[in-house]
């Protein structure tokens, strides 16, 4: 299989929560840097120890180089530097305001508004938006050959794709100009300025949200006057990047039923937007513990070696479970590969430990490199080899 990053400058890893997206993104970035690409991995909310391993002790919203000597010790030899960063939602919004504000006065007024912080944190998709906004910034800096983006967990990939346009609609000045500004003026000057139809709207909204709330929000919105064009331009850039040829989507999931459903939905949604899924990575696949024709001999060995009858029953049960899980994984892999003849399906083996240090990441990375034929078999075999060797 050609490397996943060939011909691309951004890889966006998408998937639901709890599938190991962050580890897979980090391992992918390692593999790219090992093959000579200057690579940045942007991770969302990694496990603290994984963050520490990558050298991300704090949420600084800035890129940090991963220590190449520590990586070499873990067995990964880079041919280009690897960087990591954690986008910080609030800081990314602050930077956005700094960049698009038309004056210092405006910038100060927005950042000081009590609703602003609330807005930056609670707007649906603000995490998605911060991720893509930050992505756009580093992408345009030209400092990296490849950026691997670990996206926030989502049930629906559309939430992620729609984040830029949602934020722009949010600041659409028409809302303020047409609907809300007269209210503010009327409140200050005279109700005669407001026509009757709109008056009903304000009264009702006021009754619903409280007049003071209405006023605070309007003031907040008016604070953004003049910035809309700048914001829209940025959002368009981000949208173009998300839908362009330089970005590839990689779906990350596991073979568990709900995640298989989610991945199919992701792929269909992407296809509906005219976007192709570059690859599917099935994480934590379990290799078959033994071939089916060895079953009888195994039974014989178990009975001969395990002396306690109750121990024998429990061991059989444990093995039957492992076999069932592995069979399930293999079946899921085969089904996906059959459904998607054009999309490489890569399976990564379940690792003995949670991925929280460079050594374990390195294991994941080598499994990824071993996935060469794009139909998953070799990755599974490599996983088996790793296990046998351990």
């Amino acid at each position: 299989m050609r490397p996943l990053w060939e011909g691309r400058r951004v890889i966006a890893c998408v998937g639901t929560g709890g599938v190991g997206k962050t580890s897979v993104a980090a391992a992918l970035a390692m593999a790219a840097a090992a093959s000579g690409r200057r690579t940045l991995v942007m991770t969302i909310d990694p496990a603290r120890r994984l963050a520490n391993a990558l050298g991300l002790a704090d949420f600084g919203n800035v890129e940090r180089e991963v220590d190449p000597f520590a990586l070499a010790e873990a067995g990964v030899h880079l041919r280009a530097p690897l960087w990591a960063m954690m986008p910080d939602v609030k800081r990314t919004f602050d930077e956005l305001v700094e960049r698009t504000a038309t004056s210092d006065e405006q910038r100060r007024r927005i950042l000081a508004n009590p609703i602003y912080e609330q807005f930056a944190r609670t707007l649906v998709g603000s995490q998605d938006y911060a991720a893509v906004e930050k992505l756009n910034q580093v992408y345009r800096s030209g400092r990296y050959d490849l950026i691997v983006l670990d996206t926030p967990p989502a049930q629906n990939v559309l939430d992620f794709l729609a984040a830029p346009s949602r934020v722009v609609t949010f600041f659409d000045q028409d809302t303020v100009r047409v609907l809300l500004k007269p209210y503010l003026l009327a409140g200050k000057v005279s109700t005669r300025l407001v026509n009757l139809g709109n008056a009903v709207i304000y009264r009702t909204l006021g009754r619903f949200a409280g007049g003071e709330t209405l006023r605070t929000i309007i003031e907040f919105l008016l604070g953004f006057q003049g910035m809309y064009e700048g914001l829209r331009e940025r959002s368009q850039q981000v949208q173009e990047l998300l839908c362009g040829d330089e970005l590839a989507f990689v779906l990350v999931g596991t073979t568990r039923t709900p995640q298989l459903h989610a991945m199919r939905a992701f792929r269909d949604t992407l296809a509906g937007q005219g976007l192709r899924t570059r690859a599917i990575i099935l994480n934590r696949a379990r290799p078959l513990p033994y071939a089916s024709d060895a079953h009888e001999r195994l039974e014989h060995e178990l009975a001969a070696r395990i002396t306690e009858t109750s121990d024998l029953a429990r061991t059989r049960h444990a093995l039957a479970e492992e076999l069932a899980l592995a069979t399930q994984d293999a079946a899921a892999l085969a089904t996906l590969a059959h459904e998607l003849p054009d999309t490489p399906v890569v399976s990564l083996p379940e690792l003995p430990l949670d991925v929280h240090d460079l050594a374990t990441l390195a294991l994941l990375h080598s499994s990824l490199l071993a996935a060469t034929d794009g139909r998953g078999e070799s990755a599974a075999k490599a996983g088996e080899r790793d296990r046998l060797g351990s």
Binding site: T16, G17, G18, A47, R48, R49, P114, Q118, F119, T122, L123, P153, Q155, N156, F170, D174, T175, L179, L180, V200, I201, T204, L205, R207, A209, G210, G211, E212, I217, L221, R256, P258, L288, P289, A294, R297, L298, E301, L302, R305, I306, T307, E308, R314, T315, H317, A318, L319, E321, E322, L325, A326, E350, P352, L353, D354, H356, R387, L388, S390
Partner: protein
């Protein structure tokens, strides 16, 4: 009088929906009338319960078990009507495109609307005065979103001047922080991140003053008998069978690591802990839910 509102949360992928559905099923089997609330779940729970897809409109999927998949945008209509009271006025005002845009700016409104819907159903009474639902189970979003959801009433109370929305927020906060009415159930698997998030949720619930119900330690694996791995060690030299030994070793290794993660949970959480086994099945559905239902029914009857 037992708790009638139970919130299930935890890290993504730990089995929240499964636990919530099993909990709802347990109460239904005990003769209770139950409402199971999903949030933007895209019908996952329907597949689990082996029933036809359920949308944003509440439906009785089996006797005594009502399910709803809530989308805040849809719930907004109901919520505003509760406040404004006139359908015609609602149409005139809230179906205005610009008003729609404005509503997105009211801080935390979607979250408030979700809680408001549950609050409404929790207080709903029949003519006899009996509650319409004996139990409401919320299959809540994962840790981060669940925290902001539960904090919403407090945030709104702090950020908003007086008004109807603020009054509602206070009512919801009262519901959430009354341990005789509401319990939070944390679900975790024996892995590092899920356990960390369980700890985070436990702390958060105590700070906010939300009552804590049984914690579910999901996907718990039985230990292998201690002598077995040594007895099977010679299999390592048999190329056809070595994989079985590796699988058993790895299973035991993982189980031990998992047990040490669980050991990080505070004693008061372990006291409330109910262990749920890892269920292996190619089509995880109603049969598995029933197996779990039996295990957790005791934990939710108080």
């Amino acid at each position: 009088m037992s708790v009638r509102f139970r919130i299930v949360t935890g890290k993504g992928g730990v089995g929240k929906t499964t636990v919530a559905a099993a909990m709802a099923l347990a109460a239904t089997e005990a003769g209770q009338r139950v409402l199971l609330c999903e949030v933007r779940a895209h019908d996952r729970v329907a597949a689990l319960l082996e029933v036809a897809p359920v949308g944003p409109k509440m439906r009785e999927v089996r006797p005594g078990l009502f399910v709803v998949d809530m989308y805040p945008e849809d719930a907004l209509h109901e919520y505003v009507l509760l406040t404004v009271r006139f359908e015609a006025l609602y149409r005139a005002v809230f179906e205005n495109r610009l008003v729609h845009a404005f509503l997105r700016l009211v801080p935390a409104l979607p979250e408030l609307v979700l809680l408001g819907k549950i609050w409404f159903h929790e207080r709903e009474r029949e003519k006899s005065g009996r509650p319409r639902f004996d139990l409401i189970v919320l299959d809540a979003p994962a840790t981060g979103h669940a925290k902001s959801l539960l904090r919403t009433p407090e945030t709104v109370m702090a950020a908003m001047p007086a008004g109807p929305v603020r009054d509602h927020a206070r009512d919801m906060h009262t519901l959430l922080t009354d341990p005789t009415r509401t319990a939070l159930h944390i679900v975790t698997t024996p892995e590092e991140m899920p356990v960390n998030e369980a700890l985070e949720l436990e702390r958060f619930a105590r700070e906010l003053g939300v009552g804590l119900g049984a914690a579910f330690l999901n996907q718990d694996v039985e230990p292998l008998p201690s002598a077995v791995l040594a007895q099977l060690a010679p299999l390592a030299c048999d190329p056809a069978l070595a994989g079985a030994l590796v699988a058993l070793r790895q299973r035991e290794h993982k189980r031990e690591a998992g047990a040490s993660h669980f050991a990080h949970l505070p004693p008061q959480m372990l006291e409330r802990a109910v262990r749920l086994p890892l269920l292996v099945s190619s089509q995880f559905a109603l049969g598995e839910l029933h197996a779990l239902r039996v295990l957790l029914s005791a934990a939710v009857s108080t």
